[in-house]
Symmetry: C2
Subunit: 293 residues, 2 copies
């Protein structure tokens, strides 16, 4: 009997699941003849974006194309408030799929700024989530900066009261360094930890699962930083680790003589891709079992 | 011409200088026939404590010896408020030489506690400063704990709102680690950095001075952690580094052919001991100069 163990947190995180759900609901409007758009790809998974497109949820090419009565889905990353106002002014139907954990970052920077803190947002300067959050800080006339790498700390030097938040998908190690560094020179530091635990949960799953199985399969975009990190962790614990994007990449040979298979997937991998992979592995296992008997 | 360079921050820190000055003022009362005590040795330097004793400032042996009208000097470390109340109840004349930087820690824990934070005091559990500060936290019914080593972090696990302060002489590296660690699990962290820069200033002096001189002399108690650290830093930069407690330990041979001498001293070394050392070195240098000519 071959066991297939799927990591408890494999695949979509809460915010992505919620956004897809809202997009599916909005696709009803498309079926009623309305135009439904997402601003930017809803998730970093072309197969899933294509699936939604078939349901009538289009990717917006340029804002100028929008007309009164159109529906626009704000994706989980969120957008700056001035941009939202601009969309509302057109008379659009707005479906706000901003992740509640991202909303918490918006609220945190506003709160810290009102309390008189210079705000440090630890994250990637050009990430849509960070751009959105900075918009909320600007909105209340707050002072602050993005810290993406150690050198960026220079712009925090000399600030007495520093408030620190993070992009929800921020790497914990770097966040910790930044916090420790600033705490040494600033007189007062207030930290609202806005890192979402989706990323660390997926990594912890791998730490537990990879050493227990004969083969470990990591599903997710080859260009996804988070998925690659899952692969590296797994490979270091179990040399029989394979990183695939879809079931097509599975190799029959990987499962010869195998008793336990572990599976996990990055946060932007839809359940149906995971299911495809599991089904294909089951077929292979049965094949091996039959050729053995 | 031989140069003698004394580090800018050699010797007493601000709080110790202030406490000695207050003790000297109080010694006037002793000359008028009043009894003047310090609670614990005023500084960790037996020679200086002895000098003050000769001026009439005695070391208190047991609290039971105190009578109305006696003068008691609270040393720079401070004491818990319930202890101060007890002393005042006796009708003593209290000279409060608590370092203002230590007072700032007392105020910080009270403020954090009032704001609803679980208070983490990074420092040595049995240090008088820490005991005093905890007294102030207790006074307002605040919750908190001392973190002296990594294992102590266990008692902070599960706390949502954590306020962090430090013993004034806390090592910066460990403080940084503690802050970074807690910031990863707590939802909200507020840090009031109460580390006094006296220690780091003395170390920075050595980093600058030691590589520039032919011989480096570090003055201070052999059992003083801070002075030993100064010695280690200096020795790593300049092998001709010597750690002495008084001028008596100076060896004539250290100065043969020397052009530049660097001198620094730990925070509990009085100026007169530094002066003794400088005078003796000057004598030796002149001796060498004369035997050469």
């Amino acid at each position: 009997m071959v066991e297939i163990l799927i990591a408890p947190h494999a695949g979509f995180c809460f915010g992505v699941k919620r956004a897809i759900h809202m997009a599916e609901k909005a696709s009803q409007l498309a079926k009623e003849g309305k135009r439904v758009f997402t601003m930017g790809p809803l998730i970093h998974n072309p197969q899933e974006v294509e699936r939604l497109r078939k349901e009538g949820v289009e990717l917006l090419k340029q804002e100028e194309d929008l007309k009164e009565g159109d529906t626009v889905i704000i994706r989980s990353h969120g957008i700056p408030p001035y941009k939202e106002r601009k969309l509302r002014a057109i008379g659009l139907n707005i479906v706000d799929a901003t992740c509640p954990y991202v909303k918490a970052v918006h609220e945190a920077v506003v709160q810290l700024s009102k309390e008189g803190y210079f705000v440090v947002l630890v994250g990637e300067r050009n990430h849509p989530e960070v751009i959105g959050t900075l918009g909320y800080l600007q909105e209340v006339g707050g002072e602050g900066t993005v810290v993406e790498k150690r050198e960026d700390l220079l712009s925090v030097l000399g600030k007495d009261k520093v408030g620190i938040v993070a992009q929800t998908t921020q790497d914990e190690q770097f966040f910790k360094e930044v916090v420790g560094e600033i705490a040494l020179w600033a007189k007062e530091v207030k930290i609202i930890n806005t890192i979402c635990n989706a990323t660390s949960e997926r990594q912890e799953d791998v730490y537990k699962l990879a050493p227990e199985v004969d083969v470990m399969i990591i599903i997710g975009g080859k260009n996804s930083g988070n998925t690659r990190r899952l692969y590296q962790i797994s490979k270091s614990l179990n040399p029989n680790t394979y990183h695939i994007e879809t079931a097509d990449e599975i190799n029959r040979e990987w499962f010869v003589g195998v008793k336990k298979v572990g599976i996990t997937a990055g946060a932007s991998t839809p359940d149906w891709i995971i299911k495809d992979v599991v089904d294909k592995i089951k077929l292979i296992i049965n094949y091996h079992a039959n050729t053995h008997s």
